[in-house]
């Protein structure tokens, strides 16, 4: 299958890509460092969650955007071969997703297995991998929508800042403004607007630590229960992978290269 060929060779290229290797090493260093510094594995895990929920989306977005721009000429060369554009984009996005998966299994999965084996670590790993894939899809879409690399990187950074900083501020403002009304039912769809919040909810429901759960996490647990809350949050993350992926395919199919 042509898509498989494109995926395989792109993966071979990414396996030797310094940025991907550096990302795996950074995640490993942070994970190991936190477990070494903090004697209590649960506390180390909670610190790790906070770091990974900010770091992984940022690096996944920037890596994907930069790689997509840097390989534009090669994408053109592939696009003049007798193969469909779906195979090209599918292979390249799949390879990036796999490369990030391997980097996270190595950098995060190994320390978790050694220092804090269990279901919580598994939920953390799954949530972080899904986050990486969400941002691979978003990064690809951003790079396809904007020809200029600087603009694309800027929009990627703004997207990340929106999820990490602006969203929380808006949510707090909303809660404050409507503090006299029952807005719990609204929190579910609002949380679905931010994949990073969804990942945090899935992990914190599992940890069951009220102080770290946040308002949206508490609502999820209260309204859905623990296991369904995690399942809904992770399922919504798949939707966050699906829509930018489908949009990227649609844009790439018609794009002038």
């Amino acid at each position: 299958m042509i898509m498989g060929k494109v995926l395989y060779y792109t993966l071979v290229d990414l396996a030797r890509n310094r940025s991907v290797v550096a990302f795996a090493a950074l995640v490993l260093a942070v994970s190991e460092g936190l477990f070494l510094v903090e004697a209590d594995p649960v506390k180390a895990l909670l610190s790790l969650v906070q770091v990974m929920l900010a770091l992984v989306p940022l690096v996944s977005l920037i890596l994907t955007v930069v790689y997509t721009y840097d390989t534009h000429e090669f994408t053109q060369l592939l696009a003049v071969q007798p193969i469909g554009r779906r195979a090209i984009l599918g292979g390249r996005m799949g390879a990036m997703a796999l490369a990030l998966l391997v980097a996270l299994l190595f950098g995060l999965g190994l320390p978790l297995t050694v220092h804090a084996p269990g279901t919580t670590s598994l939920v953390l790993l799954v949530a972080v991998v899904l986050l990486a894939w969400v941002h691979t899809a978003l990064g690809t879409l951003i790079a396809l929508l904007h020809r200029d690399k600087a603009r694309g990187v800027g929009i990627a950074l703004a997207t990340w800042a929106g999820f990490v900083l602006v969203y929380d501020a808006l949510l707090m403002a909303l809660l404050f403004a409507f503090s006299d009304r029952p807005i719990e039912p609204l929190v579910l769809p609002i949380a679905a607007l931010n994949p990073i919040d969804l990942a945090r909810i899935a992990i914190m429901i599992r940890v069951d630590l009220a102080a770290m759960m946040g308002y949206s996490g508490a609502v999820y647990q209260h309204m859905l229960g623990s296991a369904p809350g995690i399942a809904v949050a992770l399922t919504l993350m798949f939707a966050w992978i699906a829509w930018p992926t489908l949009a990227a395919f649609r844009v790439f199919r018609r794009k002038d290269l």
């Binding site: 042509i2 060929k5 494109v6 060779y9 792109t10 071979v12 290229d13 990414l14 396996a15 030797r16 890509n17 390989t71 534009h72 000429e73 090669f74 053109q76 060369l77 592939l78 696009a79 003049v80 071969q81 007798p82 193969i83 469909g84 554009r85 018609r254 002038d256 290269l257």
Partner: protein, 238 residues
């Protein structure tokens, strides 16, 4: 016999027409030089043919098939781009394997003659990111000829190549013509390529000013060199 037919092809980027109403026919067994100043539409013309860009108006036929969503027509086309950027961490050998697989070639059906002729045989384990611009251009030439195309599109093919390699690549293009292939070349190095050209397509501001046999261009202008003929011909439109 006609190989490529452009019928009323135009391409608009926002409000700018990069190509306007181009009607042109390219035949089998000929080399056509596509020339014109920067921004004249040469690259857009080539990109339309290769399927990289969708024409805003008109249609293109390649060997009787109107270009559409089906990428199969590109099986007959080899392309040598002006700027060859490859995945930096792959080796030359891996890239050749990849493109062979992608095009559905077998080791027996792939034409690897240029690998030897351009001196790449002993460099197959070298990473593409470590290659000079000239060597990348050689790799690009190998890829263009490898599938034994019936149509060859070369964008500034000799840029960055040493004279011997440039000669080798142009000789290959000439051989393809004698086998009945169609070769389209864009180049600013007129002297280097005009010896090969049968016809000249001149583009200006997105419009095809003329598509004439090289001899006609030279005769009409009363010179024996294309570089001298063009200004005279453009001052006295065909």
């Amino acid at each position: 016999m006609d190989s490529i037919i452009f019928s009323g092809v135009g391409k608009r980027y926002r409000s700018l027409w990069a190509l306007r109403d181009v009607d042109a026919t390219f035949r089998r067994g000929e080399v056509v030089m596509v020339i014109g100043p920067n921004g004249s539409g040469k690259t857009t013309l080539i990109k339309c043919l290769l399927g990289l860009v969708r024409p805003t108006t008109g249609s293109i036929q390649v060997e009787g098939q109107v270009i559409g969503p089906d990428p199969g027509y590109r099986r007959s086309i080899g392309y040598m781009p002006q700027i060859s950027q490859f995945p930096p961490s792959l080796t030359i050998g891996q890239l050749l394997d990849m493109m062979r697989d992608v095009r559905g070639l077998t080791p027996a059906s792939a034409d690897d003659g240029l690998v030897e002729e351009l001196g790449l045989a002993h460099q197959l384990d070298k990473r593409l990111g470590a290659l000079s611009g000239g060597t990348r251009q050689k790799v690009s030439a190998v890829l263009a000829f490898r599938s034994r195309p019936r149509i060859l599109v070369m964008d500034e093919p000799t840029a960055g190549l040493d004279p011997v390699s440039a000669r080798t690549v142009l000789d290959r293009a000439a051989a393809l013509r004698s086998e009945g292939g169609t070769v389209l070349i864009t180049s600013h190095l007129l002297e280097e390529v005009e010896a090969l050209a049968d016809r000249i397509a001149y583009l200006q501001e997105g419009t095809l000013r003329f598509l004439l046999p090289l001899n006609d261009v030279l005769q009409r202008s009363g010179t024996d060199r294309l570089a001298l003929a063009l200004p005279k011909l453009l001052a006295d439109p065909v």
